[in-house]
């Protein structure tokens, strides 16, 4: 396969980028809670991801996946709980804090400007200049390098408008944009939701390669098949709480389905008041 040499290259880079102490979480949320008025969206959730691993975040609608991610991204602030990043306790009050730490989120709508070309999108807001003039050559080179390192080979020209790309190619551009900025944790929100079989394959391969590059990868998904295919561990949320974290190797899909729909919780919403009385 044509990917072989690139994988070698990726492996070499993995060695470079992966921190020495493996297994310790790069991002570690402890006991985080978030309440919107009367709704307890998250209740004392623990969530962590290590460098070089893919953590899937699964759960039914309203389980709190988006709230958790938005808290990490700095769009909301958690009401309680701590966030540790690379072993240090950090505060994330706005999206800039999270970007400064090296956390990048690829949202479902991708946030690409359709009228701009691939390079312009990848460097949007962080354009390289040569005096006052855009340094197009340098930006194109860097974009190409990043896409090559992720083995994205389906893009013919980086100068075509994003409007003309397929769903999978757009996803690849959005992911490459996220990893180009020395990011350490990449969070992908339903990256395969709107894609066909072949494109889903490409995106999952891409997700795996990100982890092989030494990044911590969080993938939010509804699709357990995808989760099992690409993730190392799976965190299940239900009704705003964490049911458990499952190792992919030692769990089955039935187990996870059961956890999503009927997993046991320490704290049942609506029952607290009566229980504590």
């Amino acid at each position: 396969m044509s990917t072989a040499p690139v994988t070698e290259k990726a492996a070499a880079e993995t060695q470079k980028r992966r921190p020495a102490a493996d297994g310790t979480p790069i991002l570690d949320c402890r006991n985080v809670s978030k309440r919107f008025g009367a709704v307890q969206a998250l209740y004392k959730v623990d969530f962590d991801v290590a460098a070089g691993e893919v953590m899937a975040l699964v759960g039914d609608n309203g389980a709190g996946k988006s709230t958790l991610i938005k808290g990490i991204a700095g769009i909301y602030t958690f009401d309680e709980g701590e966030i540790h990043f690379e072993g240090k306790r950090v505060r994330i009050d706005n999206p800039r804090d999270s970007a400064a730490l090296g956390i990048e989120v690829v949202y479902q709508d991708l946030a690409l400007a359709d009228n701009l070309d691939v390079v312009a999108n990848m460097f949007l807001g962080r354009e390289r200049l040569n005096g006052v003039v855009l340094n197009e050559a340098s930006m194109e080179q860097e974009s190409r390098k990043t896409l090559d390192s992720l083995s994205v080979t389906t893009l013919q020209s980086l100068r075509q408008a994003v409007a003309g790309l397929s769903g999978g190619q757009r996803q690849a551009v959005a992911v490459a944009k996220a990893v180009m900025w020395n990011s350490k944790v990449v969070i992908l929100d339903e990256p395969t939701a709107a894609l066909g079989v072949a494109q889903t394959r490409q995106v999952l391969d891409l997700v795996r390669r990100l982890a092989d590059h030494g990044l911590g990868v969080v993938i939010i998904t509804h699709n357990l098949h995808d989760a099992f295919e690409v993730a190392d561990r799976i965190t299940v949320l239900r009704l705003g709480q964490r049911v458990d974290v499952y190792e992919k190797e030692t769990s089955t899909q039935q187990e996870i389905v059961h956890a999503i729909t009927a997993g046991s919780l320490e704290h049942v919403p609506g029952m607290v008041a009566e229980g504590e009385l």
């Binding site: 009228n115 080979t153 409007a163």
Partner: protein, 416 residues
């Protein structure tokens, strides 16, 4: 072995890339046409069709006299349309440009009056430009901070500034007409380059274009990236030189190349540079294409919007001064009439999308050429005003429909 794997730096791949580019460029062009990025193609077709039509209907249309008139008539509309292009690029509209241009022209004229303010021309022109930029700032602040649609804010501006023009002109003179007596300002639209200066101007433009393109090729080659073949650049430059030379030669057989052509060209080149080569320009396109993406990328979207409304009012003022210089006076109707619609029509007909994100500054010139050619041709034919309105409306509608079809084609290819 790793390097041989399709990295663009390898000389072998680059050589192949070079040989393919001419074909690739044509193919890329066809591909862009298919996805609805028609650029300037429809307009060139339209311009040629109009020229043939009017030329066959009236023998005066092709005369050198009329050619120079066309250039003079285009200058004001083109300047205003350049500002409108920026507004359309961010997906907004500015309905106030007509009367803002009027305010600029009237302010300048009042400041120039001998025996009254009697300012030197540069101070009067500079003050008018600054006042108009501040008007744009005001529009932009209201649109962004109060979150009112630009349509409404600039419609209010349309009424307000028309009132200001009326007040200023009637206060200053009972008839409302104030003559411009400053020689420099009058020469803007009423004087012509010497024959040799016209040729020098053309040489500078074409030469500058070639040098810039060659520098671009050199920097891309130094970075190991593909670039378009130099022959294409040379063909383009040759086409520019031939068309330009015909224009200069023809203008020189009459009065010569008008000064305004140089002035408008300078603005055109400057704003093209801003739109296509600077970070600000890139952000303008991003805000027009997807404001949410721009916001998440850390772009201060409000600031871009405000700046664009300032550009719009500033360029309106430039156009207003050019038009006032041509008429040698201002009156209560300055900036009114068809000016606003002609400027917006020029931008849209030139290929700038009303939906934001697509278009070029140069489209202002091409669109203005169509608008002015239609008006000029109908004047030569002595058509009744009613018919002129009907036909101008038809041309604008055709351009907007074309834009809508192009947008549909883009949407279809975006989904595919």
């Amino acid at each position: 072995m790793i390097e041989a794997q399709g990295t663009p730096e390898s000389p072998q791949v680059e050589a192949e890339g070079l040989r393919e580019t001419l074909e690739e460029m044509v193919r890329g062009w066809v591909a862009r046409l298919r996805v609805g990025d028609w650029g300037a193609l429809p307009i060139f077709v339209g311009l040629i069709a109009l020229a043939l039509l009017f030329g066959s209907l009236d023998s005066n249309f092709y005369t050198a006299q009329n050619f120079v008139n066309l250039l003079l008539q285009m200058a004001g509309v083109t300047s205003i349309a350049i500002g409108v292009v920026f507004v359309l690029l961010i997906g907004e509209i500015d309905l106030s440009v007509g009367f803002v241009s009027g305010v600029g022209a009237v302010v300048m004229t009042l400041l120039l009056r001998p025996g009254e303010q009697d300012w030197p021309w540069w101070a009067a022109v500079g003050t008018a430009l600054i006042i108009c930029a501040v008007i744009g700032l005001l529009h932009g602040l209201i649109i962004t901070k109060a979150r009112v649609p630009s349509f409404v804010v600039t419609l209010a501006g349309y009424l307000t500034w028309s009132g200001v023009v009326l007040i200023l002109t009637t206060e200053a003179s009972s008839s409302g007409t104030i003559r411009i007596q400053d020689d420099v300002v009058l020469r803007i639209s009423n004087d012509y380059l010497a024959a040799w200066a016209g040729w020098l101007f053309l040489a500078l433009v074409v030469g500058g274009y070639v040098v810039l393109e060659l520098l671009k090729v050199r920097s891309r080659r130094a970075s190991g990236l593909g670039h378009r073949p130099i022959t294409v650049t040379l063909i383009q430059a040759a086409a520019m030189a031939i068309v330009g030379a015909l224009g200069v030669y023809y203008a020189n057989t009459n009065r010569g190349v008008p000064y305004v052509v140089v002035i408008v060209s300078v603005f055109l080149i400057f704003w093209t540079f801003v739109a296509s080569r600077t970070r600000f320009g890139r952000h303008v396109y991003a805000v027009g294409g997807n404001p949410e993406a721009a916001r998440r990328a850390g772009i201060n979207v409000d600031r871009i919007r405000i700046a664009v409304f300032m550009i719009s009012s500033f360029m309106a003022c430039v156009g207003g001064i050019i038009l006032a210089s041509r008429l040698r006076s201002v009156d209560p109707g300055t900036g009114g009439g068809q000016l606003l619609l002609n400027a917006i029509a020029a931008a849209v007909i030139g290929g700038t999308s009303l939906f934001g994100g697509f278009g070029r500054v140069a489209s202002a010139v091409l669109g203005a050429a169509v608008v002015v050619m239609v008006a000029n041709g109908m004047d030569l034919l002595n058509l009744a005003s009613g018919w002129k309105f009907v036909i101008t409306g038809g041309v604008l509608l055709a351009a907007v429909l074309l834009d809508a079809f192009a947008k549909r084609a883009r949407a279809a290819s975006g989904v595919a």
